[in-house]
């Protein structure tokens, strides 16, 4: 499905006439986007182009167990055909994520300007982590005892790449609620990349984050669960999945930038509930609403409640005021104890 350019302007009128200046700004931003899409369609309509593919630039580097000062490392030729599974997975995951954003939402890479997507594998030694450093993605091999290599799960790659998208768009601050929203956006699009690759509907999907990263030694199926936050693992050495599924169990902590990887369970579950309500392929409706919200409607210090309001408004703009899509978004947030503010 290509970018939908047909948005009834009366839906925007509602926002444009709101007493809240943030609502009015959102209306202006969305109108500008629509005009841009319409212009693009006109341009494309004149000359038949199957699918514009320009801008796909995906590079994989081997940092050979070095640290951040050694990044990115050696550029690898032909990563798609590499015999090193980490190289191949890093390439294929980035490629699938690029296609996901391009085919479904018309986004051209992390910055929407076709920037190269760079990943470095074999970061440090026995490194139990993956990350986005503001320029590129990095992947550790895992310690081999509790953790496998992080590229093993394609949603991890979608997650890391989405951190880049968020940095270029909403710029959600990596702290407290905006930080947990930042994390949640990465989980949402990470899991949608996986669902699309597997062509899964909402009922077929596992809604797990990082499935396959734990070795058999660990009692747990993944690092997080969007369908049942707090249940992904329970292991004598690593402890129990600390994610809450609703506001009543919001975790107040100074660690992990205010629990950004913990409280993300709340917006994650809101997305899951909305997507389940809508059925079918989650990327078509719920994913689209979340994407347009991330791109156009959030600010760096957005709270859960404001994010809820924005997704609700965007659902109204994309699918109509009072639509089933808008009701599903409301149901999602209500299900995690976030009331949509007026």
């Amino acid at each position: 499905m290509a970018v939908r350019g047909i948005i009834p302007p009366h839906m925007l009128k509602h926002l444009a006439e709101s007493s809240d200046p943030e609502d009015r700004k959102l209306a202006v931003r969305m109108l500008m986007r629509i005009e841009k899409v319409r212009g693009m369609r006109r341009a494309l309509g004149e000359v038949y182009v199957a699918t514009p593919t320009g801008g796909r630039c995906i590079r994989v580097y081997d940092v050979k167990h070095g640290s951040d000062s050694d990044l990115p490392g050696d550029l690898l030729a032909n990563p798609a055909k590499s015999k090193d599974p980490e190289v191949k997975e890093a390439y294929k995951g980035a490629d699938a994520t690029y296609s996901f954003y391009k085919d479904l939402y018309g986004r051209n890479s992390i910055d929407d300007k076709g920037m190269c997507i760079d990943s470095s594998v074999h970061f440090e030694t026995d490194y139990d982590n993956a990350g986005w450093d503001g320029r590129q993605m990095i992947y550790g091999d895992g310690d081999g005892v509790y953790f496998n290599r992080f590229t093993i799960a394609i949603d991890v790659i979608g997650h890391e790449l989405t951190h880049g998208v968020t940095e270029y768009e909403a710029g959600l601050v990596y702290q407290d609620q905006p930080g947990a929203l930042n994390e949640s956006m990465s989980d949402v699009f990470g899991t949608l990349v996986k669902q699309r690759v597997l062509n899964e509907t909402v009922d077929q999907a596992d809604w797990l984050i990082g499935e396959g990263i734990f070795t058999k030694k660990v009692k747990g199926k993944a690092l997080r669960s969007m369908s049942a936050p707090g249940t992904a693992y329970d292991d004598p050495k690593l402890g129990k999945d600390p994610q809450p599924a609703d506001m009543k169990h919001y975790v107040k902590t100074s660690e992990d930038e205010g629990g950004v990887h913990i409280n993300s369970g709340i917006p994650n579950h809101a997305f899951y509930l909305a997507a389940m309500e809508l059925g079918g392929h989650a990327w078509e409706k719920a994913g689209r609403i979340w994407y347009v919200t991330l791109r156009d409607a959030l600010k760096p210090k957005t709270s859960f409640a404001t994010a809820a309001k924005r997704t609700y408004q965007v659902a109204g703009v994309l699918f109509g005021e009072g639509s089933a899509e808008q009701a599903a978004v409301k149901k999602g947030w209500t299900g995690v104890g976030v009331k949509i503010p007026k």
């Binding site: 951040d68 982590n129 450093d133 951190h163 990596y174 690092l223 992990d256 990887h261 913990i262």
Partner: protein, 98 residues
């Protein structure tokens, strides 16, 4: 010497913690640890290194060392670990339970 390390954050958000009393270690384990504390000039380091403004999913460390006379805590985040602390953090991390 007592060394206490808490690692939080990271993609998995899995908290790890270790408290080491160096005198209960073998000399092969104790010497590199105490040596790296000394080499890093730990007690003169700032209590908090600024977190980089960009990036996500990196580990955050809180390290406290008590040498019997002084107690000092340093908080630092990846990806910009100062080179002076990286070997110490890696050495302490070897002692995470399991």
């Amino acid at each position: 010497m007592i060394i206490h390390l808490v690692r939080s954050g990271g993609f998995g958000g899995i908290r790890r913690e270790v408290r080491i009393e160096t005198r209960s270690l073998s000399s092969e384990e104790r010497e590199p640890l105490e040596g790296l504390v000394k080499a890093s000039g730990f007690f003169s380091l700032p209590g908090k290194f600024p977190r980089p403004g960009k990036g996500a999913d990196f580990f955050t460390y809180s390290i406290t060392v008590d040498d019997g006379e002084r107690v000092h805590t340093v908080e630092v985040s990846e990806p910009s670990l100062p080179d002076i602390l990286r070997p110490l953090i890696r050495e302490i991390s070897k002692h995470f339970s399991g």
